[in-house]
Subunit: 377 residues, 4 copies
C-alpha cells in the first residue's frame, strides 16, 4: 500500500477539528501512517473555500462531493457534513471502495442508519462513526478499568449532555433545528454521544422509555420540528439501569457531556468540561486506610492512554487533541488492516445508537417502554 | 394556650435527630414556643429506654404508644417509626385531637397515605410530613429565588438520592428491606425526598415513567421484596421535564441527595454532601461582565434563611441543625395557628408523594407512562 | 470527685459556642462526666444577662468575675473574653485552684502568655488553650495519619486564615482592632490558629520571618493599631519549610482556615469552609493502580475520630459540634486526671504560639529572620 | 519586509512546544505573519535530529548554533535551551541583528540577565522572555479585569508553583539540578513564573524575604547544588503583600502554578491544573442578590481573550495552545513593529525577575529583608 489520500467533506466546526487532527497526528505519534491531506470538499468552488483548504492544510479544494468521492486517487473519505448527506455520501463512497469515517449521528433514523451500514457491509472498506469521546484519555482509562474488572459488576449508568446555546427565543431556526436536515434535535446530536458512551463502557441497552420536549416551537426562520431536550430511562443487557438525558436548555452548561457509572467495586464519573480528569471512587479497596473518597485523577501520566506522546504530566491537552487519537486509530486500522472496533465505533455501532434513539422517540409517542431489537445485515 | 406537651414515638436514627432539634430550638431562636419534651415512647419499658429518654432530654419514657397518644396532657405527637406504624398511630392521634408530625414516607402506598390524610382532614389538627430537606437554608434560598422569578421559567428538574450502605451481599435483610414494614425500598425511602423537593421547588408532576431494580434478592435473613434502585422520567404541570432517581448501590456516595434545576434565567444545583452550599448560575445576567460561571454560594449570611440565629458567616451548621428549623416551623405553626404549608409538607403533600411513588411502580409493572391524578379528601 | 461545676465568663460569640457544647456533650457521648453548667458571667447584672443564661442553659448568672472565680463550688473556669482579661482571670482562677480553659490568643504578648502559663504551672490545675481546630474530625484524622507515619517525612506546611469582614473602610474600630484589648490583629486572632495547627501537626518552628500590614488605618472610632494581614515564612525543627498567613482582606473568604502539608509519602489539605472534608493524596501508594489523585475524603465514617457518636456517614456535623469534642476532652481530662496534651493545647502551647507571633512581629520590625527560643517555667 | 525565517535552538520539551505553536498559529488565527520554520538546531548533526526537525515541521536542521545564528536569512532566533546557554546565544544573536525569544529564566543570575538585556538594548531587535503563562486566556482575562479596575485596590498576591517529579531520592542529578547549568532550582525554574505573574498582574515588588531548602542533597550523579523549594514573603510597590513559593516536593501536584489575588472589589484565583478556569469572587457586587460566591468561570467564550479563533465555548483548549498565543504575539510584534510589552515579557522583564530571585537568595543567606533596586541599561 502506498500513501493514503484523504478527502474531507465539510469544513465547518467538525471539518476544522478533523483537519487539525490530520495535521497533528504525525507530529506527536510515532507512526508510519503515510497519508496525505489531499482534498477538502465544500459546497461551492470559491476563493474562500480554497483559502480555507490552504489554512487547514489540504492540498486541493473541490465543491462536487460526487467527483471527490469518485477520484481514483482518494482512499479515505471523511464525511463531516450535516446528517441528511450521510446516506448518499456513504453509499457512493462504499461502492467506490473507499474507507469511510462519518460524523454522528450516522443516519437521521434507524432505518437510514441501517441502510448506511448495509451499504458498507461486505465491501471490505473500513467504516467508522466519529464518536470522538471514545478517544478521550480519561474515558479510555475508564474503559480499561471496567474491562479489567476493577469496577466489578455494573449497576448504573447515568449519562447526560447539556448545552445552552439555543435558550434565547430569538435564536433562529438553524439547520440543527430542522428535522429534514438533522434528523433530530438534542436526542440525535447530543444524546447519541451519551448512548454511544453507555454502549462502549457498559454494554447494549435492551429497553428504553423516554420523553421529549420542544420548549420553544416558534423561532425566527420557522417552526422547530426537533426536540430541545429529552429524558429517558434505560435498562441494560447486564441488568444495570440508568438514564439518558440531553438538553439545549441548561443555562450555564457550555458543553457538558457527563456520565457516572456505579459498579460493585467502584464508581467513575466523567465531565467533559474537565476533560482531563476522571473521578474515581474505589470504596474501601485498600483495607486499613481510613482516607477513602472520590479521587480527582489528573489523566496525564505517561502510563495513561495516549499520554506518552504528549507532554509531561500536568500539562493538559485540549479538546481538539482527542480527535488526533481518533484519526490515529482510523488511519492505523486502515494501514494495518485491523478492526475499527471495539475501541472505535463502526457503522454497526452508529446504527445501534440510531436504533436506540428511535426507540426513545417511539416510547415518547406511545408512552410505552420499548424493547430494542438490533438488526443484522 | 398553655405549654405544648410533645410525645415522640421512636428513638432510633430519626428519634435522636428530632430529640436534638426539640432541645436546641429554643437555644438559638427567639421564640415564645413554650413546649415541653414530655415523653419518649419506645417498644419496651426497659431501663435502656429510660436512659435514652434522659439522655435525649425527655421528661418521661413509656412503651405503649396507644397510651401515650391518649394522654390528655399530650398536645403534639411526633411519629418517628417505621412506615407500617404510621397509619394506626396517625388515626388514633387525630381522633384524640393531637397535632401530628409524621416521618416520611407517610404511608406504604398511596391508598394508605390517603387514608392517613383523610384521618386528619377536618379535625383541625396541624399535620406535617417530615420532609426535612425543605428546611435546609440552601434549599430555602433556592425556593426564594424560584418563587421570586429569578430563575424564570423552569425547564428541567433532575433529582437523585444515592447511598451505598447495602452493597455488600452479606448485609442482612433489615426492616428497610421488608415491604410489609417499609412499604418500598429506595423509592419510598430516598426517592420520596427527591419527589417532595421537586414538588416544593417546581410544582406537581403530571406523568411519570420508571423502572425499578432489586440487584441482590437473597440476603441473610430472607428474600428482599423492595427495590434497591429506581430510575424514572417525570413531566411537570408547567411543562418541565426531568428525572427522579434513587439507589442504595452507588459506591462512594454516603448520603447524596442532589438536584439540578434549569430555568430560562438561571440554574441551581444542590448536593446534600455539601449541604451549606448552593451552586448558582445566572447566565450573563450582569451585562458587560465577562466573568460568569457557576457560583459556589456559601449559604451562611445573616440574610440567608434561618442564618441570623446561628453563627457568623463561614461557620457552617450541621445536618442535624436543619431539624431545628423543621420543628421550629411545626411548633410555631401550632402556637400561632398558621398553616404548615407551603414551606412545610402537610399530610396532603405526603399523600401526593405516595401517589407519585405508586405511579412509578405501576409504570414499572406495565411499561406504560402513568398520568397522575391526585385525590382530594 | 463529685459533680464538676463550670463557670463561663463571656457570652458573645465564643460564649454561645461553648454553652452549646456544654449542653450537647452529654447528649451524644457516652460519658460519666457529671458536670453542671453552674453560672454564666457577664459585664453587668441585667435581665438580659439572666435571660441569656437561661437561654444558653446556665443555672445562674453573675456580673462579677472575681466573685464567680472565687466561689468555692466552682471547679472549672471557662474564659471566653477578649484577650486583655485573660491574664488577671487566669491568675486568680489558678490561685483559687480551678481548672481553666482560656480562649486564644492566650496573652496579648509572649511575655503575658508566659506569665499566664507560669501562673498555672505547679498548681496542679488542668489548663487548656481553646484551639478548637484540633478537635475537628478531619484534622484529627490528619494527625492520626501523620503520627502513624503514613505521610512520611514532612517537607512543607502552608497555613492561612482568610476573612473579609473589615474590608469596608466604614467598618468601625471594634475591640478586635484595638491593640490594648486584643493584643494584635489578624496575626493573633487568626494566624494563631494556623500556628497552633502547624505545631500540632508538624512540630515546633525554629525560625520565622514576616511582614505585617494595616491597609486601612483610619476608621470610624479611631486609628487602627493592629495588623489587617500578615505573611511569614517558617522553618520547622524537622527541616520542613512553609508559610503562615492571615488576612481580614480576602474578599469572598468568609472564614477560611486552610492548610496544606506535603510529606514524602502523602499530601493533605484542609479547608474550614468544607470542614468535614480532608483532601488526601497518597501518590502511587497502590502499585498497579492507574487512577491516583486527590481524594475528597468525607470524614464521617464510624471509624473516623468522634464520629461513632454522631450520625450515619454522609450526615455531616456543623462548626459548633467541634466544640463538643473540645469540651468533652477538657472535662474528661479533669474527671479522669489525664493530661490535656498532646491532643488538647495546654497553656504551654498557648504560650508557644504567642512566642511565635511575637517573633513574627519582631522580624517585621527589624527585617530580620528570628530564631525562636521557647522559655520554660 | 519579506518572509520571516525562524531558527529554533533546542528540541526537547520547550522545543517541541514551540515547534507546535509555530505550526499551529497560522491554522487558527487570521494573520498575515508570513514566516517560515527554517531551521531546528540541536547539539549534534544526527539523523535523529533531522528526523525530529521533519516531525516538528522545520525545513532544515543544524548542530552549530553559532552558524545558525549567523545565517543571513534568519530573522528570528528562538532560544529554548538550558539557562547557561542563554547569554552567549542572545549576545551573538543581538549582534547579528536578530529578533530573539529566549526561554526563562533569562539568566542564571541577575548580573547575567542584566548583561543579556544590555546586549539587546539599543539594537532595535525585538526581545521576549518566554513567560508563557501571560498568554493563557484565563490569565489574560484576569489582567483585563485588574487593569480595568474591576478588582479595585490590590491587597494580596499569593503565588506558588508545585511539582513532585524529584521526590524519589533515587531520581538522578539531571541538568536542572546543576547550578552551573540551570542557575537555580525551584526558584529560577518555577518561582520565576510566579514572580513574573505577580509583576504582570500586580506590579513590581519592592522587598522580599525568603528561605530556600534542598531536602535531598545527595543523588545518583552527584551533589545537588540548587534549591528543591523556597518560600518567600513579598511587598509590592502599591502596598500589597503576599507570598512566593515553589517546590518540587509537593506530592500529588503534577504541574500546579496557582495564584490568588485579593482586591478591594474582587478576588481571583488561577490554577494551571485547570487552566481554562478562572475563579472569580466579586463580593456583593450586585446589590440585592443573595447568591454570591466564587464563580467558576469557564474561560471559553468568544469574547474571552484569543477564544474567537478556537472552538465553540466549552470545548477547551490545551496547555500547548497557549504557546500559539505567545508566538502569535511575538511574530505580530515583529511583523507590525509593535512593542512586546506589556502583554509579553521583554528582556527587561526577564532581568527584573532575576533581580527578585537573587534578592530572595540573598535574604536566605543573610536572614534579612532585601529591598530591590532595579537597574537600567
Amino acid at each position: 500500500m502506498g500513501e493514503l489520500n484523504v478527502a474531507l467533506i465539510g469544513h465547518q466546526f467538525m471539518g476544522k477539528a478533523h483537519s487539525n487532527a490530520y495535521r497533528q497526528v504525525g507530529r506527536f505519534f510515532e507512526t508510519n501512517l503515510k497519508f496525505r491531506m489531499k482534498v477538502l470538499c465544500g459546497k461551492a468552488c470559491t476563493e474562500e473555500l480554497e483559502a480555507t483548504a490552504q489554512k487547514f492544510g489540504w492540498e486541493e479544494s473541490d465543491c462536487e462531493w460526487e467527483r471527490v468521492i469518485d477520484r481514483k486517487d482518494i482512499d479515505v473519505v471523511d464525511i463531516s457534513t450535516p446528517g441528511y448527506l450521510h446516506h448518499p455520501m456513504v453509499i457512493r463512497a462504499a461502492k467506490a471502495g473507499k474507507h469511510i469515517i462519518c460524523e454522528k449521528p450516522l443516519g437521521r433514523t434507524a432505518d437510514e442508519a441501517h441502510e448506511i451500514w448495509k451499504g458498507v457491509a461486505g465491501t471490505g472498506v473500513k467504516h467508522m462513526t466519529a464518536y470522538n469521546y471514545r478517544f478521550y484519555p480519561a474515558i479510555c482509562l475508564a474503559k480499561e478499568m471496567i474491562d479489567s474488572g476493577e469496577l466489578g459488576e455494573i449497576y448504573h449508568f447515568r449519562g447526560r449532555y447539556h448545552q445552552e446555546w439555543i435558550m434565547d427565543p430569538q435564536f433562529p431556526k438553524v439547520w440543527r433545528l430542522d428535522k429534514s436536515v438533522a434528523g433530530s434535535g438534542a436526542l440525535g446530536d447530543l444524546g447519541a454521544h451519551v448512548i454511544d458512551q453507555s454502549r462502549y463502557l457498559v454494554g447494549d441497552p435492551v429497553a428504553v422509555n423516554g420523553v421529549l420536549r420542544t420548549f420553544i416551537k416558534e423561532r425566527p426562520g420557522g417552526t422547530v420540528d426537533v426536540d430541545d431536550a429529552f429524558e429517558a430511562t434505560v435498562e441494560f443487557e447486564n441488568g444495570a439501569i440508568g438514564t439518558y438525558e440531553a438538553t439545549r436548555f441548561a443555562l450555564g452548561r457550555k458543553n457538558q457531556m457527563r456520565w457516572e457509572i456505579n459498579g460493585s467495586k467502584g464508581t467513575l464519573l466523567f465531565d467533559s468540561e474537565r476533560q482531563n480528569e476522571l473521578l474515581v471512587n474505589m470504596g474501601n479497596s485498600t483495607p486499613g486506610e481510613h482516607a477513602q473518597g472520590f479521587r480527582t485523577v489528573l489523566v496525564s501520566e505517561a502510563y495513561h492512554p495516549y499520554w506518552q506522546h504528549w507532554w509531561p504530566h500536568g500539562h493538559m491537552i485540549g479538546w481538539e487533541d482527542n480527535f488526533v487519537h481518533e484519526l490515529l486509530h482510523l488511519l492505523t486500522c486502515i494501514r494495518e488492516d485491523k478492526p475499527i472496533g471495539p475501541r472505535g465505533a463502526t457503522f454497526e455501532d452508529g446504527y445501534r445508537c440510531a436504533e436506540i434513539c428511535d426507540a426513545i422517540v417511539r416510547s415518547h409517542e406511545t408512552g410505552r417502554r420499548q424493547e430494542i431489537e438490533y438488526r443484522t445485515v
